[in-house]
Symmetry: C2
Subunit: 358 residues, 2 copies
C-alpha cells in the first residue's frame, strides 16, 4: 500500500466544486492501484483573504511544501479585484509558485476529436491539434527586480518592471522542454523576441546551447508575434513550445482557446525536487460559482497530471484519462462544451459519470 | 495645387515591388484631387546595411523628418538575421520610429466580406470582424533602460530589459486611442497585465483617468492573456484596443491573422507633430521577393492611411480604399488570398487593376 499526502487548495469561485469532484476521482483510482491518499484542505486566494487577511497563509505554504503534491482549484473574483497588490488573490498564486520553486509550467492544449466543433477554428485547422506549452514560471518580468513606481526627473510618475533571465534559469527550463518534446513528437519551438530584447537574446543563445544535449530533438526558434499568428494560422505545426513567463502566459491561453474547450485543460507546475502544483487552466468563474454548472474535467485531468508528473503513478493517471474520454464518448457534457445531441449535466453529475467510467 | 513631399523607404525583400505599385497609385489619386507628390527614395534596413553599413543612415532619417509623410515597404531577411543588434535591419526600424517620435501605431484588422473564407476561423466568427489595435510604439520594454547583459553575483550570465512607462506616455497614447474609438463604434478596451506588473497598474490608472475626458467612449479593461483568448473566441466583441508596445506587437499580429489576409493590412504610426510613418504589417517575405508574387494591397492601403491620417486628405484616401474594394469585387487576387473562381494575378497586375479602378 503506497501512501501520498495531497494538499488541496480549493480556492475561490468554482474552485471548491471542481476540487471536491477531483478528490473523489483520485480516491477511486488510488484504491484500484493500491494507493492511499491523505488529503489536507488549506485556504488560499480570496477565501484566505477573507479568512485570515492574506492570499497565501504561511500554514498553507508549509502544508503544501510538506506534501507530495498540491492540487489547486481556482483563485480570484470581482470582490478582490481592486485590492492592493499584496492583497490580491493572484499574489497568493505567484507566492505559492515561488515558494514551491515550480519553475516549469506544462500546459497541454489538445483538441479532442469529440470536441473539435467547440473550437472557433475551422474543423480542418483544429482537428488533431496537440500542442504542449512549456512556460517558465518563476522568473522573468513576473518576479524581476527592480520593480515599482517612482517620480522621474521631470516630475512624472513612472511604473516599471524588469524582464530578467539568468543562464541557469533558461538552461533548466530548456532541459524540461527538451525532455518533454522527446517524449512527444520530438519537435521543440522556442519562442522569444530576440530581435529586440537582450533577455531574449540570452534565452535563444542558451536554448541553442542546451540543444546539443538533445540531438534527437529538432529545435526551431520563432518570434513571439509570429508565434501568436502561427497558432491561429496553423496550430498543427507545433509540437512542444518553450517560452518565458509572460509570453507563456499569453500564448498558452491563446493555444487553449484554440482547442475551444478551456474547461477541459489541465496544467502541471514542476520544480527540480519537491511537490508539484497542479491546476486547471481556467479561472474561478465567479458568474457560475455555486450553481453546479462548472466543468470538473480540467481539474480531473490535472489530478491525472498530478499522478503522472507529480507521483510517477502513470497507470493511475491512465485510468483517469481513459475515464474522461469514455465519459465524453458516452455523450456527457457540461454547459461549456455542450452541443445538440449530447447530454447536458452539471458538475456533480459529470463527476459521477467519470467515477462510473473509471 | 497642393504639394507634399513623401519619403519612400522600399527596404528589403518584396518591399521595392510593393512600394513601386503604391507610388503609382498615390500619383494617380493625387492627380484626381489636385495634389502633387514629390517622392524621394531612401535606403533603409538590410539594403542600407549592404550599401552603407548601417540599417538607418543619417540621410534617410533626415529626409524622412523633412518630408510630409513616410511610406515604408518592408525590412529584414535571412541574410542579416545573425547580425549583432546594432547591425540588424529591425534596429533601423526601431530607430526611425524613435527618430520620428511616432508613438501611436494604428493597426486595423478588418475581415472584408470578399475575403472571409481566407480566415482560419469559422465564417460566423470571422464575418464582420473590424478591430483597430492602437499600440504604443516608442516606449515600454522596446526602449526601456537599463538593458543589456551582465554577470551576476553567482557568476551567472544575465540578460535584462526594462518595461517602463511614464504617465505622459500613457496619457498621450490613451488620448489617441479614445479619439480613434470615438470615430469608430465608441468602445475602447485597454489591455494590460495590471494583476502582476506595476507598469501595467500605472497604465490602467492613467487610462482610467483620461477616460473622464471622453465620457462618450465606453472603456473596459482586459488582461493580456484573456485578450489573446478573446481574439480567438469572439473577435467581434472588440472595437478599438489600446495597449503597450510589446503586448501590441503580439496582439496586433494575432488579430491580423484572424482576418486571414495579412497581405491586406496597412498600418499608420503617428506622433504629436511631424511626418507619420506608414507601412504594411506584413514582412519582407524573402522567399517570394523579386518574383512579382507579392500582394501590394497592404501597401496601397497604407498609402490610403498616409493620405487620411498623415495629410488629412480624406477624399484622396477614399479613392484608394474604394479602388481596392472594387478590384477585389472584380475577382483579382494575389496568391496569398487566392481561392477557386477568382483571378490569380501578380504584384504588378494587381497594381494595374487598382489603377484602373481608381
Ligand atoms: C492569475 C495570474 C497571475 C496568472 C499568471 O499570469 O500567471 C494566470 O493568468 C495564469 O496563467 O496562471
Ligand atoms: C521587426 C520588429 C522589430 C517589429 C516590432 O516588434 O515592432 C515588428 O514585429 C512590428 O510589429 O513592426
Amino acid at each position: 500500500q503506497k501512501r501520498y499526502s495531497i494538499t488541496l487548495l480549493p480556492g475561490d469561485g468554482i474552485g471548491p466544486e471542481v476540487i471536491s469532484v477531483a478528490k473523489d476521482v483520485l480516491k477511486l483510482t488510488g484504491s484500484l492501484e493500491g494507493i492511499e491518499f491523505n488529503f489536507q484542505e488549506m485556504p488560499m486566494g480570496g477565501s484566505a483573504l477573507d479568512l485570515v487577511g492574506v492570499p497565501l497563509p504561511d500554514e498553507t505554504l508549509a502544508a503544501a511544501k510538506h506534501s507530495d503534491a498540491v492540487l489547486l482549484g481556482a483563485i480570484g473574483g470581482y470582490k478582490w479585484d481592486n485590492n492592493a497588490k499584496h492583497l490580491k488573490p493572484e499574489t497568493g498564486l505567484l507566492q505559492i509558485r515561488e515558494g514551491l520553486k515550480v519553475f516549469a509550467n506544462l500546459r497541454p492544449a489538445t483538441v479532442l476529436p469529440q470536441l473539435v466543433e467547440a473550437s472557433t477554428l475551422k474543423r480542418e485547422v483544429a482537428e488533431g491539434v496537440d500542442v504542449m506549452v512549456v512556460r517558465e514560471l518563476t522568473g522573468g518580468i513576473y518576479f524581476g527586480q527592480p520593480r515599482g513606481f517612482r517620480i522621474d526627473e521631470n516630475g512624472e510618475e513612472v511604473g516599471y518592471n524588469t524582464e530578467v533571465y539568468a543562464a541557469y534559469e533558461i538552461d533548466r527550463i530548456a532541459r524540461v522542454a527538451f525532455e518533454t518534446a522527446r517524449k512527444r513528437q520530438g519537435r521543440l519551438c522556442s519562442v522569444d523576441k530576440a530581435n529586440v530584447l537582450e533577455a531574449s537574446m540570452l534565452w535563444r543563445r542558451r536554448v541553442t546551447a542546451i540543444a546539443e544535449e538533445y540531438p534527437d530533438v529538432e529545435l526551431s526558434h520563432m518570434y513571439v508575434d509570429n508565434a501568436a499568428m502561427q497558432l491561429v494560422r496553423n496550430p498543427k505545426q507545433f509540437d512542444t513550445i518553450v517560452t518565458n513567463n509572460i509570453f507563456g502566459d499569453i500564448l498558452s491561453d491563446e493555444a487553449s482557446m484554440i482547442t475551444g474547450s478551456i474547461g477541459m485543460l489541465p496544467s502541471a507546475s514542476l520544480g527540480s525536487s519537491g511537490p508539484g502544483l497542479f491546476e486547471p487552466i481556467h479561472g474561478s468563474a465567479p458568474d457560475i460559482a455555486g450553481q453546479d454548472k462548472a466543468n470538473p474535467l480540467a481539474t480531473i485531468l490535472s489530478a491525472a497530471m498530478l499522478l503522472k508528473y507529480g507521483l510517477e503513478e502513470e497507470d493511475a493517471a491512465r485510468w483517469i484519462e481513459n475515464a474522461v474520454l469514455d465519459t465524453l464518448n458516452k455523450g456527457f457534457r457540461t454547459g461549456d462544451i455542450y452541443s445538440t445531441g449530447t447530454k447536458l449535466v452539471g458538475c456533480k453529475e459529470m463527476g459521477e459519470a467519470v467515477l462510473r467510467s473509471v
